[in-house]
């Protein structure tokens, strides 16, 4: 995010905004550029997960019965609750951005904290799920020892499950870190209706994390 304005020790140019970096002609251009940059990054993230989704669909195509049986053996309640949690966290992040844009930083701080709590709840539920998977033997590849589904290809399902949810969980963690930094900055009054790009971009990332989970959920749990 292009928030490095003047170098320490320098004063900004006469009349220039303190957030404006010297290589942009106006703050609005800088903000648009940072938004475009963020969108480009989000597209690379989409493609990253697309690779895994394609792997999932190829193996699902090859082993439909095993995948259907294996996904039925995963806990639907956990997936549904996690979906609700993430959707609500998207809502709170959107609200936080709205409050920052309308110069209510304390409400924004509250919303961001709730978002981070939702993220923690998501990871907690995921941890419970993983624990139950380890106990039942629903593990990737050659570690698979789940008695009730013995079709060929079932271990493939679990490899993909752990890969996809693991990568997604990593993104949740990164998103939480980013949101914590933004929370810290908002609490110190860094964002206002004049300059709120930081929160907006962090919100974009968080929405993407939610988006990916909404794709993951039906493929891994419902089908």
């Amino acid at each position: 995010m292009s928030e490095a304005a003047a170098l320490p020790g320098e004063r900004p140019e006469h009349g220039a905004d303190v957030h404006l970096a010297h290589h942009f002609s106006s703050l609005e251009r800088q903000v648009e550029a940072s938004r475009l940059g963020m969108w480009l990054f989000l597209c690379t993230e989409v493609l990253l997960f697309a690779g895994l989704f394609v792997a999932y669909s190829v193996y699902r195509f090859s082993f439909p019965a095993a995948f259907a049986a294996a996904s039925r053996s995963s806990e639907i309640w956990a997936g549904t609750v996690n979906t609700l949690v993430l959707i609500s966290s998207s809502l709170t992040v959107a609200l936080a951005i709205h409050f920052a844009r309308t110069d209510r930083p304390r409400a924004a701080v509250v919303c961001l904290s709730i978002t981070i709590l939702f993220a923690l709840a998501f990871l907690g539920i995921k941890a419970i799920e993983y624990t139950s998977h380890f106990h039942e033997g629903q593990l990737p590849g050659r570690f698979y020892r789940y008695e009730e589904v013995r079709l060929p290809g079932a271990s493939m399902y679990w490899s993909l499950y752990f890969l996809m949810t693991g990568l997604h969980g990593l993104h949740v963690l990164i998103g939480m870190t980013v949101l914590s930094v933004i929370l810290f900055r908002t609490a110190h009054g860094y964002y206002s209706s004049h300059y709120y790009v930081g929160i907006e971009l962090a919100g974009l990332y968080w929405h993407l994390v939610d988006l990916i989970w909404i794709f993951l959920f039906p493929l891994l749990y419902l089908i």
Binding site: S57, V58, A66, F217
Partner: protein
């Protein structure tokens, strides 16, 4: 903000589709469509609707490439030569999982050392 109402609607849809797991088979397609539509609503409500065209082109391009990746890969797997399909697959199973060598009368005679192995066609 209208985002609130939209997201509550989405949550309800998700919950309903979550409980719809009674319907197996061919309902996955309906599920996927419903979910992707809900996603796109989130995107539009939060970002792209209020922004410049450049960002929309960027995200649309990435979806185009994802669709390409998915369709071409699945097309490859679906039209594969039967000997390369994994064991237990529902197609291409006219060849048994344990590849049995054809009986000797169907093969050309084994050549001397240095010749290509049996069953491999001569390079033209």
């Amino acid at each position: 903000m209208l985002v609130w109402i939209a997201l509550v609607v989405l949550t309800i849809t998700t919950y309903v589709t979550g409980r719809m797991h009674l319907g197996t088979w061919a309902l996955p397609i309906a599920l996927i469509i419903a979910v992707t539509k809900s996603l796109l609503v989130i995107l539009f409500f939060m970002h792209l609707w209020e922004q410049k065209g450049a960002n929309r082109i960027v995200i649309a391009t990435s979806f185009v490439f994802v669709a390409l990746l998915l369709s071409l890969t699945l097309g490859d797997v679906a039209t594969r030569f039967s000997l390369s399909t994994p064991a237990g697959a529902p197609f291409g199973t006219d060849v048994p999982a344990q590849i049995k060598e054809p009986s000797p009368e169907h093969l050309p005679p084994a050549g001397p050392i240095g010749q290509p192995p049996r069953g491999v066609p001569e390079p033209k």
